[in-house]
Point group: C2
Chain length 342, copies 2
DNA sequence: ATGAAAGCGCTAACAT
DNA sequence: ATGTTAGCGCTTTCAT
């Protein structure tokens, strides 16, 4: 039988109210008494009952805020599914949640969304942080004011968040490199399409991939293109690359612009000539896995990322955890036409 | 603000007790009144609050039983981790759980474990059912007596269970076939190691694989061996197969006996000659992925299987769901040396 | 600073 | 057949 505050109250010869105040640092209790209560609670192995707490605090429930750079990028659909799924599971706890979606990587826009949620009042925040000093400072101030923060999919340095939930980008690059090496039998001329932002995580994916491809002397990186995270730009750049380099037989899409790039291949009727490797399971990728153009794609469990972010955030708020900057990496999985989970 | 039984009671002009009795079919309420209450509840969009219910029924908590054919097979370690993780998450709901582990596929032993749990009294059961008429009948009788059942990892026909949580075995075979075809560049002489039980799911894995390999005219299935789900038998059979067939350059372990088979390869010093494909991420597989002997393994998310089984079972019990024979397939994921999650 | 008591939504034992 | 009431473990308001 688990120990309750009632048990502690009896053991400490005080009332349940005092135990509650002491254990939750609500103030208004003699320091000596508080210390004694805490030590007794620890001795008895007290673990607060989350569901009872949730029932009791139902009148002013936990408020969650979410800010995602999701507009115009189909990758986020499943992250949002995960967020909503976790939210539904927690609905009995009486929580509320507001999702703010934005397009691209404009820090001013993100700061604006942050301000909006701050004014409405939130106890926790899930965010895909844009890694700039201004965003960093804003998040740290938010955290100082008592709001718990979980970063989803994108990491940011020097922010005292509770957790980063996302993939290991370097490792995802390695995984891609390995599958490229193995399935092309170590013979290929590779074109790499990246985003132009010099985004840290994109770079990691390229580095991870090339570090593995070093083991294959006959795989040559023939050309790079920058898609600027825009499908149209990607479409044009891929076209240009393929027309310029007749030798290219393999394409590696790091992220963003994959849909446009695949369209370019079809418009050039170069499906037969090319083997394509991508990330994630967005509709265009699934379609082309089925058609055989895309050989494999690396999945990073977007649903799990969304769901875990919300769950960890709620957990942190309920148990008053102190920020630990924990890295929670989701699995990286190779998908071919048979094991897609679109 | 969610609607509660109190709201319904007021709307129906009855007491909360009557609403509770009506909504939960506890009997002792006028059929007409019950129908009216139910209709009002539906109209108001009533959703029972699980955590309040759990708090109230804490004195006689939900009792879960688990029966796994896990002894001697490292695959199950992560299933059990998943089961325990879900159990921990539900601990605030005051549930109890007993895990019974057994070795191999002896139906008498399984029926015995079933009897044990039945005598102790359980509200729900997670089981890896041995697909025989006796087990089928025993499970159906259990279900008729009001116990919810979830099948984990193994499916069974004609049992009115709540859900099967596990992988799609045919699809896992296809996925393996595709990776074998792609990474061997369509050229190989294949040895297949299966279990001897003629187990349905093993057969599906072989069929799935060969159905895909039909697309590769130069991949030949040179030999089959039966490991009888025993590491020693597997060790000997693999040795025999490799010594007999000098041409074999690729091995496909369907399951059970992988550890012993890998050991045989090492003892024969044939690591250089062979490319191996396996299932799951058991220690021996991880080790040999790192060494390069195993090219890829197909993961079926054992942790998720365990956790989901328990969660779905609990959910079904709490909400009195009627058995639906739902198939919940976990993801199938290709793992190489870079994205293992051992 | 501490205690007492009401209440969160639901169940179950006891009255009527 | 229906109503009333006392909790489940915790928070919160009101007394003291």
């Amino acid at each position: 039988m688990p120990v309750t505050i009632k048990d502690i109250a009896k053991a400490a010869n005080v009332s349940r109210g005092t135990v509650d105040r002491a254990l939750n640092d609500r103030g208004g209790v003699n320091p000596d008494v508080a210390a004694r209560i805490k030590s007794i609670a620890a001795d008895m192995g007290y673990k607060p009952n989350t569901i009872a707490k949730a029932l009791a605090t139902r009148s002013n429930p936990v408020r969650l805020g979410v800010i995602l750079n999701s507009i115009g990028n189909p990758f986020w659909d499943k992250v949002i599914d995960g967020i909503n799924s976790a939210y539904d599971n927690l609905s009995d706890f009486g929580i509320s949640m507001e999702i703010r979606k934005m397009r691209g990587y404009d820090q001013e826009r993100q700061l604006h969304e942050l301000e909006h949620l701050k004014e409405k009042g939130i106890d926790g925040l899930v965010i895909t942080p844009i890694s700039t000093p201004k965003v960093r400072d804003a998040l740290n101030e938010l955290i100082r004011s008592g709001v718990q923060v979980v970063c989803c999919n994108l990491d940011i340095d020097d922010v005292a968040y509770q957790a980063y939930v996302g993939c290991d980008y370097f490792c995802s690059g390695q995984t891609a490199g390995a599958i490229i090496g193995m399935t092309t039998h170590g013979e290929s001329n590779l074109g790499i399409i990246t985003s132009s932002h010099g985004l840290y995580f994109h770079e990691m994916r390229v580095k991870g991939c090339t570090s593995v491809l070093k083991n294959y002397p006959n795989i040559h990186i023939t050309d790079y293109a920058e898609a600027e995270d825009d499908e149209e730009v990607s479409y044009n750049e891929v076209k240009k690359m393929l027309l310029k380099n007749e030798k290219i037989d393999t394409l590696y899409f790091v992220t963003g612009g994959t849909t446009g790039g695949l369209r370019a291949i079809h418009d050039l009727h170069m499906e037969k000539r090319l083997r394509v490797f991508t990330f994630d399971q967005i509709p265009a990728v699934i379609e082309n896995l089925k058609s055989g153009l895309v050989i494999a794609t690396i999945d990073q469990q977007p649903f799990v990322q969304g769901a875990t972010s919300v769950r960890m955030l709620f957990e942190a708020i309920m148990t008053k955890q102190i920020p630990t900057r924990r890295q929670v990496f989701t699995e990286l999985n190779i998908k071919n036409r048979y094991n897609i989970t679109g």
